[in-house]
């Protein structure tokens, strides 16, 4: 199973050049059953990444472009009166997909945002008093543009918490960019991607991830990290116990990708910044999560 994963990652990096770290984090997020928030400027390959992931795993893919006039019904779906059947027929919205790309999620009104975010947390939606289960697996990849803040509704902390990770894409290095320009990589290749993993395999992998062993010493390390975010006044609010769970789960996925069935401190360190970055509000004279990682003793 591990080789399948490696295989998939190689395939992906053929399309998305020079972004191995991001690909791995995105994969890790999916394996940990989390949702991913990608924060970067347009044209950095956010859509390409999510599309490739969908293709790679053969997932049912939907994309919603968020705008300020988008309504919850546009996401969840509506009941339409069928004159022939003389009854209301529910038309599923784009949320009923296995992988949902929510583009520029901060452009929609809070009401619409919360409709999506509820679906993310509960993995089901309630429409007209009827709960409808979303397909398995259900993964949301949302993107937002960090710069243009005009006319946006920034996600509040509580909703940021729904995303397991937040990662930036960043510019590709010169060589990868050259390859893109030459046409050896890029989004148009996505269509040619072969499916490497089936949704069933993915779900099996997710199952395995949650069984990865975390020793006492490692849990102590996580506790030290959590405590450091809370105690020393570097951040306005420290990490919550839920964030601690998220950190552990993400680290497990990271270890799984590495092919280990136990956690080591490096796994936690690899995912700490993407997992905690959007959950912590930095104080004026505080330190970044990365700096915090350097300060907390990994070995006690």
């Amino acid at each position: 199973m591990h080789s399948t994963l490696k295989n998939g990652m190689d395939t992906l990096s053929g399309v998305i050049r020079g972004k191995d770290q991001e690909i791995r984090l995105a994969l890790c997020c999916i394996l940990a059953r989390g949702h991913l928030l990608i924060e970067d400027l347009p044209g950095m390959g956010k859509t390409a990444l999510s599309l490739s992931l969908a293709r790679l795993m053969g997932l049912d893919y939907q994309r919603i472009q968020f705008t300020s006039d988008l309504l919850p019904a546009d996401i969840l779906g509506v009941s339409i009166f069928d004159q022939q059947a003389a009854s209301f027929q529910f038309k599923k919205g784009p949320v009923f997909a296995q992988l949902l790309l929510a583009d520029e999620v901060n452009r929609a009104s809070p009401r619409t945002q919360s409709a999506l975010l509820e679906a993310m947390e509960e993995r089901q939606v309630t429409i007209e008093g009827q709960a409808r289960t979303l397909p398995e697996p259900f993964i949301v990849i949302a993107t937002q543009n960090p710069l243009s803040q005009q006319g946006t509704f920034p996600l509040p902390e509580s909703q940021m918490d729904r995303f397991l990770m937040r990662i930036p894409m960043g510019y590709p290095d010169a060589e990868s960019e050259k390859a893109i320009l030459r046409g050896e990589a890029g989004r148009y290749l996505v269509g040619e991607l072969a499916q490497v993993i089936t949704p069933q395999v993915l779900m099996a992998m997710q199952q395995e991830v949650s069984h990865i062993h975390a020793s006492n010493m490692l849990l102590d390390y996580i506790l030290r990290l959590l405590k450091a975010t809370r105690d020393e006044g570097h951040f306005a609010v420290g990490l919550s116990p839920r964030a601690g769970l998220a950190l552990l789960q993400a680290a497990r996925a990271w270890a799984y990708i590495d092919g280990r069935d136990y956690l080591i401190p490096e796994d936690v360190q690899a995912v700490f910044v993407p997992v905690s970055g959007h959950r912590l509000t930095m104080q004026k004279q505080g330190i970044s999560p990365n700096e915090l990682l350097n300060r907390v003793n990994a070995m006690a």
């Binding site: 020793s215 020393e232 280990r260 080591i264 401190p265 490096e266 300060r295 003793n297 990994a298 070995m299």
Partner: protein
Amino acid sequence: MTSPAVSRYATLWLLVAQMMVALPVIEVLPVSVMPLLVLTLIWRALIWFGRGVWPSDLLRRLLVTLALVLIVSSFGLQFSLELAINFLVTGYALKMLEMKTRRDALVIAYIGFFVVGAGVLYSQSLLQGLYLLLCIATLVAAIHAMYSPVDESSIKGSLRFSGSILLQTIPLILALFIFVPRLGPLWAVPWPEGDAKTGLSDKMQPGDVARLSQSYELAFRAQFKRAVPPPRERYWRTLILDQYDGNQWWQSDLLQLLSQFPGEIDHESNWQSRSPVSDGWWQIELGSYEYEVLLEPSGRQWLPVLGPAASAAVESTVLRTLRLEADKPVYERRLYKPASETVINNSISMPPWLSALNTALPAGVNLQARSLAYKLFTEVGQDPLSLGRRILEYFHQEPFYYTLSPPLMGESEVDDFLFTYRRGFCEHYASSFVFLMRSVGVPARIVTGYLGGEYLPEEKVVRVLQRDAHAWAEIWVEGQGWIRFDPTAAVAPERIDLGLDEMIEQGGLLQGQIPLAYRFSQSGFLKFFRQGWERLEYRWQKSVVQYQQEKQQSFMKQLFGTSSYYWQQVGVLGALLALFSALFGLFTLYQKPRKNLHQKAWCQLERKLASKGFERQAGEGPKDFARRVQVEDPILGAKAISVVDLYIQSAYSDNQSLDATIFDNLIKMIKQL
């Protein structure tokens, strides 16, 4: 990292502490600075009540500048203790106006402890000690209030906390008090000259001693070993005044004498010089009183002694006027033991210059007095001793009165006193007496000091207040030396026998105001209480405040029986320090979670690698660390990686069955590294 704000509750504590702490040093603050401090306090209180705003940066700067100007204008730029304390107290008060965060509040609390220390400089009495302890408790409570959550803070809780903290420090306080070597001061602040304590001065004008009689300040205490002299023998001789200009008496110094009597003063017999008394002058006899004196700080060098001084105590000299002088001005309470010998005058004749000095009078004034002196002198057959007695008789027979509020006298002071007003305090009588004696060529001089003192029988202590100040005379009789004459005794014998207080009680003072403080101090219960307190205070001073180098040394000797006091002390201090650090170490060790086997192994590995120059950074995980080692040193790194891999498997994996063998392997590999 911003510090959290200070709770209203903690601010209140700090304000109260500030007022309490400033009280002992308030007498040092000049009148001009006081309003500023009161203003700051009111301002801060207004902010506390939500009625005021924080001062702007500019305003704060202005306030500080104003404070600096006020302080410097009242003390000058010369560095003195008062100046320093004023800076401290003003800074302490002004800092309240920018106290917003806990950090500021902590600074204020710590400055508070400093101000408490400054309070000790001004008084070391028992009451002051207790009060300062209360101040410290308040400050600790304020710090506690700063750190306790708002909804949990209570006055009682903070007080209980600070009380328990103070109680815990008691063993440490005692140990440090007893064992810390008393070193001399490393630096000293000059005592302000003009602002000397109330007390005797080396100049005497009519009215000086009378003014002192209003002061209830303690001058000194004397504790007697065996017999205690009766009040009429308690003449505490302090200063000899032999120069007179018609109004003022003062003590001559060597330079003055050299210009007055050029070539006559041989260095060996220097008048008030520091050279010890040559034996030919005086004869010493074992006296009957053995006592030691605990002198309050006077800022002066002279030391009161019962009768003429015979031999020097530690760090002091006997001058040729037979008074005791300390080597340095007395700025702290000083314990000394004057010789218990009595001086008997020898039958040596006086050198001409000395006789000239002690008979000198300004010409042309007090002519009436001069003629009176001649008249009396011829009456008694030109005998100095008889003249002295005759003058006393004169004072006794004529309507002379003893009063605390003598009238102002004119140019011819002695004449005015002797023939017009006939009312005066001891210095008037002494001054006139000496004038009369000198007019007929009998060497005479003024002696100032204290007379009497309150006797506390339980402690055998005589307590002498500034109000016991007295002036009397000494005349030279050929063959007998200097003889004491106290003209006051002729006018108001009850002053001598009973002391000022009793005299007032019996109405012995004519036209003298009875001080209010006196009236209060005399009711039965209060008197009892006051005397009890006095005893306590005396014990405190003698055994605690006076526990200085000498006493410490003798105590250590008692404790260890050897004389190598210094090393004993250092040893004890070291042992105490070791004990405390051991306790502290045990405590922290107990608090620290214990390391498991893997962590111990890892520490061993880290030490191994550290000895090869590779330190793990705090945030570095085991694998990253090994990789970094490999980058810098491929051979060692390769080994390190394999060890770390094994370690990771052993420490982090779930593979319990393999664990023991892997762990043994790991230890072996670490050792081989």
